[in-house]
Amino acid sequence: MAATHVNPTRMELTRLKKKLVTAVRGHKLLKDKRDELMRQFLDLVRENKTLRERVEQGIQTANKNFVLARAATPDAVLDVALLTPKQEITLETGLKNVMSVEIPILTAKTRTSDPNDMYSYGFAFTSGDLDMAVKSLSDILPDMLRLAEVEKSCQLMAAEIEKTRRRVNALEHVMIPEMQENIRYITMKLDENERSTQIRLMKVKDMMLEQAHHYSQK
């Protein structure tokens, strides 16, 4: 018998049977959701991995270029050159619904119409290395944005997959077996009650016949 006590009544039995149908259906749907989420997640996470490798590689190259540039340019000049940017990047954000997970979509917009217009300094007082460094950084920026989008999506989807998996498991291993067990218990109990009523009736009938005809005295 199940750990929780259930009323062995016909009403309870109907209720449980309905609940079981819903649970089985929900389990099937959640399982489908989990599988589809998992499929998309794996695609996304593979992309995440390649993007990250590329971005990390790119940033390292850019950093090397910056070290070179710094060696040739005094700090003060560098600050003046870089910290008053001409270009500004803003993001438009959208949402995409993937199996009830809302993942972000980022679209970058630059303030000036030419995205290559990022040299915020005159070329006269800085070394060419600095141009190279800024260029190498700006080259990987699209990848970096895509990486942000993909990595956040992966995090959100991972959380959702974990949640869905728990629900599927709870339904499959706890809720559904428990309900089946309860239904079995109620059916048995009802059958047993019916049999005992039957026997009682037979017994009463015997007793009444006995009173009317006094079979045993003959």
């Binding site: 600050d79 942000a148 998996r165």
Partner: protein, 109 residues
């Protein structure tokens, strides 16, 4: 309209200023954590949708970053700083895989 922020040691991030991202140099982990909180919770006209953070700083304020993991914005993305690639970024991706699948099947670890 959202903006992009870059957070970390000054030397590793000032290049991004030229591209038009907002850079926020952090001197120590506490300062970094405070900055991160301010940037991430900033409402109003132009909040930050993406915050890039250098791996060395990210490793020190992991708890702060984890708080924003389940939120849609901002996306906090670790990037390698001047000290080189520590692999922390990849570890974060691996963590996602482990959370979703139960074991790491992408990186073969």
């Amino acid at each position: 309209m959202y903006k992009i922020a870059v957070l970390g040691e000054r030397d590793g991030i000032y290049g991004f200023a030229a591209l038009g991202l907002s850079v926020f140099p952090a001197e120590d982990p506490e300062h970094g954590a405070r900055l991160l909180r301010r940037l991430a919770d900033q409402e109003g006209e132009q909040p930050y949708a993406v915050i890039y953070i250098t791996e060395s700083l990210a490793a020190q304020i992991e708890d702060e970053i984890d708080r924003y993991r389940s939120r849609r914005f901002p996306a906090i993305i670790p990037i390698p700083g001047v000290s080189g690639n520590t692999g922390a970024g990849m570890r974060a991706v691996r963590k996602s895989v482990e959370q979703a699948v139960g074991s790491d099947i992408i990186f073969g670890g």
